[in-house]
């Protein structure tokens, strides 16, 4: 028996007296956690002490900052579909988690975050490293709970995992006082399967289903838009089955990317602010909009006043609070996307919608000519983000996990990387958290150790969590880092150029030589600025075992187009800066 097996076996003993902190570790193992991310400190020390005896059964990754730990847990959760786990100490440790927790809340990422807390007798006394973590995290967690007695630990952890993963997933925080960690309990673990005040999903309403089918069968120009709900509900095959049968073109939100093969003939591209031309203008021309597992974010809809007013709307969604929140629906199908799409596919008539699909192809041809060609095959000397992203994606035969940070490069990554399997595109959507990319890539690599994991980051965002290079070096994680360096906070610079009269207020940013920084951690890397050296540089990056950092010099004044300006209608999408000044 290996040490790992011995530890796992020991963790499964029931009815034994152990400490609260050992119960924390055993409960995590019981929930199937294999990798956790964290940073020790005073109030969580008993848990770290208990972890020492289970360090083979439960792999702990020491990040360089708690924000790194929570983003890594998010990346891990997003690629695996499992609950991500992170641990931090009280006070500053816990507050450093908040950005990631807020990110996970808005992007529906299942997380269990465990924070240490001062001894219960000191609560409310402004003790050293005390902060009101339950109060602080309340608006950004699906559920949170403070544990002050050791007996409550197993049940609270079971509830935490159940809540985080079920229904619409989200982050859960458990704040455990030091005396609860030190105290003893008779350990017994039972998974949670039910909470009477919580309905994770509603059964499918058959009448509504029939109404939806009628609308679908009668539609002449139906259009399907999907979000991350497809992957969260493991409904990728059902989505493909539905559009294959009905011939309905489908477009994705940023977080829906990779749920449908990039080369599927009915995959018409990305929605929203920097999405594709066709999906945006056709939103306001379709006669039926079928939204699945998405929440009509303002970056997707533009102004709601003119959004798909001509169309009937079917909304397939697991969270009742999303129905009619932003867009009024004609038929709301509440429940699990997988079940609903399967049932719906059975009862709808087969169709082709040839002429309608052709309209998307024509729109694509316009975008291709005006935007895509010059992004992918530029005539000018400077490298573009688009061509780098496409080259990297192609090198991996579109099989890599692609992580991005936030900004211009994120949009280029979404537009120009291609995907052949789901859960392969990891980015911060709703919160738009710069600094997300590098730590999320750490989590993604640990979740998918046998796949290539590439993170694209800008020179700004990379520096927000650059310290996680230390984690990559210590754990020898083969993350491939591509910094698309345009020496500017590019997205803000783009807005300044287009909407703030080119007043470039504090967007020019000095960066270190990233390759030298990587070198200081013992991570190999290279610079590339010339087109004819790009392919070789990419090849060397992938052929080098372990981590690698490639810094690519990008044309300074490149903008991301198409663009729906904030507050504009999706049908007023701009294809070039000249459009903007018209």
């Amino acid at each position: 028996m290996t040490t790992k097996e011995k530890e796992t076996k020991r963790s499964q003993q029931q009815d034994v007296e152990i400490t609260g902190s050992e119960a924390v570790i055993r409960s995590l193992i019981a929930e199937g956690a294999e990798v956790i991310f964290g940073y020790p400190g005073g109030a969580i020390m008993p848990v770290y002490d208990a972890l020492y005896d289970y360090r083979n059964a439960l792999r702990h990754i020491l990040t360089r900052h708690e924000q790194g730990a929570v983003h890594a847990a998010q990346g891990y959760a997003r690629v695996t579909g499992k609950v991500g786990v992170c641990i931090a100490t009280s006070g500053p440790g816990a507050t450093n988690l908040m950005t990631g927790i807020a990110d996970a809340q808005i992007d529906s990422t299942p997380l269990v975050c465990i924070t240490g807390q001062v001894t219960s007798g000191l609560l409310g006394t402004d003790a050293f490293q005390e902060s009101d973590v339950v109060g602080l995290s309340m608006p950004v967690t699906k559920w949170n709970f403070q544990i002050t007695t050791p007996e409550d630990i197993p049940e609270a952890i079971a509830k935490a995992f159940y809540i985080a993963a079920s229904g619409r997933p989200g982050p859960v925080l458990l704040d455990i006082t030091k005396d609860a960690q030190f105290g003893k309990l008779k350990y017994k673990y039972a998974k949670c399967h039910k909470i009477r005040s919580y309905v994770p999903e509603y059964p499918v309403n058959k009448e509504k289903l029939a109404e939806a089918a009628t609308l679908i069968n009668e539609a002449k120009k139906p259009f399907l838009i999907f979000g991350q709900g497809i992957m969260l509900g493991e409904a990728e095959r059902e989505l493909k089955g539905f559009i294959d049968k009905t011939g309905i073109p489908a477009a994705w939100t940023l977080l829906g990317l990779s749920a449908l093969n990039s080369d599927h003939p009915l995959n018409v591209g990305m929605l929203g602010m920097h999405g594709n031309y066709g999906p945006n203008i056709k939103t306001n021309e379709c006669d039926l909009l079928i939204a699945v597992g998405m929440r009509f974010d303002d970056r997707v809809t533009g102004t709601l006043k003119t959004y798909a007013k001509q169309a009937k709307i079917i909304h397939i969604e697991i969270d009742p609070a999303e129905i009619n929140k932003n867009v009024k629906t004609d038929v709301a199908l509440l429940g699990d996307a997988k079940k609903i799409l399967r049932l719906l596919t059975h009862i709808v008539s087969p169709n082709k919608h040839k002429e309608w699909v052709k309209e998307f192809k024509q729109a694509h041809a316009i975008e291709d000519k005006k935007v895509i060609q010059s992004d992918l095959y530029p005539k000018k000397p400077g490298l573009t983000m688009g061509e780098v992203v496409r080259r990297v994606s192609e090198y991996t035969k579109n099989k890599a996990v692609i992580v991005s940070d936030v900004g211009q490069h994120q949009m280029a990554t979404a537009r120009y990387s291609k995907f052949t399997q789901p859960r392969s595109h990891i980015t911060s959507g709703g919160l738009g958290t710069m600094g997300y990319g590098l730590p999320a890539a750490i989590g993604a690599k640990l979740g998918e150790p046998n796949r290539e994991v590439v993170v694209f980051a800008g020179d700004g965002g990379f520096q927000m969590t650059i310290q996680e290079l230390g984690t990559i070096a210590q754990e020898k994680l083969g993350v491939k880092m591509v910094i698309l360096n345009n020496h500017f906070l590019g997205m803000v610079r783009q807005w300044q150029e287009l909407f703030f009269e080119k007043r470039y207020s504090f967007t020019e940013i000095l960066s270190p030589d990233f390759v030298k920084v990587a070198d200081a951690y013992g991570i190999p890397g290279n610079h590339v600025s010339d087109r004819d050296k790009l392919d070789d540089a990419i090849k060397v990056m992938f052929e080098t075992e372990g981590p690698y950092l490639l810094e690519v010099n990008i044309e300074k004044d490149d903008n991301v187009f198409p663009m729906v300006p904030a507050g504009a209608s999706v049908s007023d999408i701009l294809l070039s800066p000249e459009d903007a000044t018209k």
Binding site: E31, G32, G81, K82, V83, V134, G135, M138, P139, K142, W143, N144, Q146, F161, Y162, I163, A165, S166, G167, K191, H193, K194, I195, R196, S197, Y198, V199, P200, E201, Y202, P203, E234, D319, P320, A321, I323, N324, K325, D336, K338
Partner: protein, 188 residues
Amino acid sequence: MKQEYIISAYSENHIGLLNRITIIFTRRKVNIESLTVSESALKGISKFTIVVNETKDKVSNIVKQIDKQIEVLKAFYHTNEEMIFQEIALYKVPTAPLMESDQIEKLIRKHNARILEITPEYTVIEKTGHKEETQELFNGLNPFGVLQFIRSGRIAITRSPIEKLSEFLKERDALLAKIESKGKISKV
């Protein structure tokens, strides 16, 4: 159009839930006109009654957000017309004017109020009713010098259908059993 709505919610009696519910209003910059929380007919289950002046769309979205909280059993909203509601007010007045004339006694009779306590110095009067009614009595008593005045939040029950919490819990159990038996809740 904004109007008064009564939001009701049943929840587990857990620490912090009040905060979870009120921040839903704060975040959307919606003012709470009145708030009452107390134990319901069933032990361990609390009832929230919250009065807001808002549009129907906004109230509907807020109620869904309340319902979404893990420890909330059920949340709903009604207009004033759909509910029978009541508030309670306490008034402390000096005892001397009560003794000197029958004006205060007449006010108490007219408003169906009652006296809770009389001491040589002060008298405490109780009145239940809608806000306008308790206010009217306040206006009547004020010339005699109201020493203290306090008004409660609103409590309300629906006109129809009959609200049976224990039946709701049974239905909820059946629903959860149905979802559970179909599996695929935990992906861990």
